[in-house]
């Protein structure tokens, strides 16, 4: 029953993995108004290292609202020319809001982090 505790059910975790010149952020949980700033902090930290590629893996995200989308927009803008920003998303919780807002046309979306890392 511990998963029904508010602090457990309403949270987001970000796992940071380095793959050579690439960084993969594995995001899990719910990306909403309250948790989006945490991803924002992790993205800022990762982009400060100026990796060639930054993959944001959203495949373990169960809910993503407009606050989460906005964090991705800011990351896309901050990444600029130096860092290639890539997303991993599939399923209704993440891919649908990306597609409905047209953000999938600004940031490339892949089905797995391997695919995102190996993409040209």
């Amino acid at each position: 029953m511990e998963s029904s505790e508010p602090s457990e059910s309403h949270s987001v975790t970000v796992a940071v993995e380095e793959h050579g010149s690439a960084i993969v952020l594995g995001v899990a949980g719910e990306l909403d108004l309250l948790t989006a700033p945490k991803l924002q902090d992790e993205l800022t930290r990762a982009l400060d290292q100026r990796p060639q590629t930054l993959v944001i893996d959203l495949s373990k995200v169960e809910f993503m609202g407009s606050a989460g989308l906005s964090v991705l927009v800011v990351a896309h803008r901050t990444a600029g020319e130096h860092t290639k920003l890539r997303l991993v998303a599939h399923g209704n919780a993440t891919f649908r809001p990306l597609r409905l807002t047209g953000l999938d046309q600004a940031i490339p979306v892949y089905r797995s982090s391997d695919e995102a890392l190996n993409a040209e």
Binding site: V73, R77, P97, L100
Partner: protein, 130 residues
Amino acid sequence: MSGDQVGALTLATYEALANAAIHAYLDDTGTFDLLARYLPDRDRVEVTVTDYGRWRPPPDDPGPFSGRGIPLIQALAEHVDITRSTQGTTVRMHWNLGLQTGTAKNSVDGEEDPAIDRRGLSRAAAFSSY
């Protein structure tokens, strides 16, 4: 309701509640009403979010974190009405159960619905300014 519709309803309702919390009660506390009901004669589920605050006009530069909730609601719901007055704001959304139109058949992993792609493209304007 289909799984797609449930997901759309959940996210759209969240966004409507978030808007009420941010825009109506940013500097204050307040209450809002959430009404969800099934209308059998229309075979429709209707969700209404009503707040009693006054939405602040958007600033000239709303910043990167703002302005995506309403476009998202408009893309997720099969129909949206937003009514603003000095007494508060009402967001009324609905989804039709019988008619497999709009969001009902927008399976992300399944067949693509051209209608939603057009809406997706029009939504892209929401991001064009960054």
